[in-house]
Amino acid sequence: MTVRLLVPSALRGFTDGKAELRLEGATVAEVLEGFVSAHPDAKNHMFDEKGALREFINVFAGEDNIRDVGGLETPLKDGETVMIVPAIAGGRDDGLARGRAGGRN
């Protein structure tokens, strides 16, 4: 079945600027697999080294966050809308580490 995948602006650099794609898949996993197969450079931002969906990537199937329903195996209906939604987070945290940022502007 064919679903609409809505891509956030952060990942549109991998889709030639397209905000919406039409992909085949019976589950969210199949649709995301189709997405990263077609746009392999996006994979590192979607999935971690173990192949799990990154914690800060949420996927909605219709109105449902898939983490609240069937996860990546959430079944999809023909014509359904799947949306990738970043879960933005961060902060100064413990204040001890600065990462590898190279300086200030």
């Binding site: 602006s9 952060a10 650099g13 800060f56 966050n65 933005i88 961060g90 590898r100 940022a101 200030r104």
Partner: protein, 151 residues
């Protein structure tokens, strides 16, 4: 590159002061150049035209050193921007009593393309305002040029 008007810069600074000693956060909505910068499809000239403050979903003491934006809040702001022909071009947050430098936690959860603006707040007063972008290999942030100018 991110361009922000002085008015929007000052609004973000005031949000950072208002939420002190907690971290403030929000989205920068704006427009994007039609062609990438330096041929890199993840780098564009972005102009912030609207600020969408978002509730920091962290609670209590945790709010002093972390922020998070609920996906539904993100979706709401994104939808509001889209209705105006704008897209999410960046994220801002504050670092109370801490330099405006991305933390490892900022890095872990960062996405490409977005500008990450950070305001340090020292003793209730907004101080340094910096701007960063994720390197393509996710290994680090690097400074992204920031201009305060009228659109």
């Amino acid at each position: 590159m991110l361009a922000l008007s002085p008015v929007l810069r000052d609004f973000i600074r005031s949000e950072a002061e208002k939420d002190y000693p907690g971290e403030c956060c929000g989205l920068i909505l704006g427009t994007v150049s039609t062609t990438p910068e330096k041929g890199n499809p993840l780098r564009f000239a972005k102009t912030g035209l609207r600020i969408a403050p978002v509730r920091n979903a962290r609670v209590g003491e945790d709010k002093r050193r972390r922020f998070s934006i609920e996906p539904r809040d993100f979706m709401r702001a994104e939808k509001e921007g889209a209705a105006l022909g704008l897209e999410v071009v960046g994220i801002y947050h504050s670092h109370p009593d801490h330099p405006a430098i991305p933390s490892p936690r900022d890095l872990e959860r960062a996405l490409p393309f977005y500008s990450y603006a950070i305001v340090s707040v020292a003793g209730k007063k907004a101080a340094e305002f910096t701007n960063w972008i994720l390197m393509d290999d996710r290994s680090a942030f690097e400074p992204e040029p920031l201009e305060f100018k009228e659109p």
